[in-house]
Symmetry: C2
Subunit: 291 residues, 2 copies
């Protein structure tokens, strides 16, 4: 295993352990919702919480201090995946090679679990004050960041634009706007929340936000390209519904855009020395992801 | 108009004005979600935010200081109403005499609007620190209270129990547990959040929590009785789906329980002088609500 893979694997273990500790036990009543929350959280790559930890490390903040924030970000991500898959949204019945949450637990429990995950994330972020001695003002700043990045100018706004997207009417710029909000926003939130926990300067905060936003969009484009490649391969399943960079731009142009965004992500890190090497590796590795 | 009706009407106007100022304009993009949020919030009785304001007044806290918290509570309430009505939940197509949110806007937009309202509530509560100079620690305490009252031990847990309720298996005690979580919890949260804003003592906090929880359950019982009375009256519509105190207990026993809970709510206020008169009137008036 190369160094980045080892790093990702170690962080994934750490995050999975913290997720397990923070989610209510599946045996606690009402069981069905706790089972559902745990089911939905399973098997993720943990990329967003890894960005939280990697940003914290870049700023010389101990990983343990950033761990509750990393967990909160993964819970928010899972919340959005459950909603994304619902029949009223993308109507996907499969996620991570398993039945989608609503397919396994029914729509009612699925959407309650989604809300419970978002709620738990806010509770965790609010507890940063007590848990790691973060100043109460900073804990509130992070909660405000979540509000702005989740709200109708953020992820929820992106979901709305996704729902109402029409390739015939909306151009490629709308596609970028959708994924800036849906995907890049949560990458950006991951970097900003970690920066606030680590006590970053305004300059560092801006640089790391720009890095994460560009990486987030590049990540979505590569996802769309890999997803597009599955078309016509019945074993790997059908591509996701909804707007897709590969379909809209064609693969060569989509890949060129991902490369350009990656260069911008790396440029944003130019003020950092070797401490940001993991963040640089993450951005470069995204372009080389296997299907 | 009697004194209580005048009070309720004045507070409703104040709350409606504050809601209007805090919700994003319906003309802001993406319009559909902002229209949907405003549509869902319309026409409520504003009982829960009125409890916030009345508790604040009881504790000699100016109404303006409690107003953002009152608005947040109404947004959380609206969030839960949208979810309640969804096809995967109670499947109600009518709310407040108008088409339910999902019926008017589609399920996808409805559930995104529900989330956006919850998110906006958290943002508002987080802003109490900047808006009214509330200590950051207290703002975090209120957010933690929201987390506990909304989460799987609170409203969401109540919704789960409601979804899985079976009159043949679950007894009347389950019915009480469901509505303690679904309805009484948000009344309780209203009183607790207002108490924290007002700087209540531990003793006052406990007393006002008990008042609000008992009133909340009594309120749900009277709601169920009034709702039950609609059966067989095709003009007033069918009773709500799901567990119902009037159906489970019969009207005389349900009303006796509401009276008992009201006495307990009033007893909880025994340590307060005339400053709690509005809270007492609210509890008594609940028993006399017209259909």
């Amino acid at each position: 295993m190369d160094i980045l893979s080892q790093y990702l694997s170690a962080k994934r273990d750490l995050i999975n352990q913290a997720l397990d500790q923070c989610l209510p036990p599946a045996t606690a009543e009402p069981r069905i919702i706790h089972e559902c929350m745990r089911y939905s959280v399973q098997d993720g790559k943990r990329l967003r919480p890894t960005i939280v930890l990697a940003v914290a490390e870049t700023l010389a903040c101990p990983v343990e201090r950033a761990l509750p924030t990393a967990v909160a970000v993964e819970l928010i991500h899972t919340h959005s995946l459950i909603l994304d898959d619902l029949p009223g949204m993308d109507n996907d019945d499969c996620r991570r090679g398993r039945p989608a949450t609503h397919d396994r637990f029914g729509e009612g429990i699925a959407l309650l679990a989604a809300d419970a995950l978002l709620n738990l994330a806010i509770v965790l972020l609010g507890a940063n004050h007590r848990l790691i001695g973060l100043p109460a003002e900073t804990a509130l700043d992070i909660i405000r960041e979540v509000g702005e990045n989740v709200g109708t100018n953020g992820m929820i706004g992106g979901q709305v634009a996704d729902l109402t997207f029409s390739p015939a009417v909306d151009g490629a710029s709308m596609l970028e706007r959708i994924h800036l909000r849906k995907t890049a926003n949560l990458f950006r939130l991951s970097a900003r929340a970690a920066s606030l926990v680590a006590g970053a300067t305004e300059h560092q905060l801006a640089a790391l936000s720009s890095y994460a936003e560009n990486l987030g969009l590049a990540y979505q484009i590569i996802d769309d390209i890999l997803d597009h490649a599955k078309s016509g391969n019945p074993i790997k399943g059908r591509p996701r519904a909804g707007p897709n960079f590969a379909t809209a731009y064609g693969i060569p142009r989509a890949h060129a855009l991902a490369e350009q965004l990656t260069r911008e992500a790396l440029r944003a890190l130019s003020g950092f020395d070797a401490t940001a090497e993991t963040l640089r590796s993450l951005a470069k590795a995204n372009l080389l992801r296997p299907a």
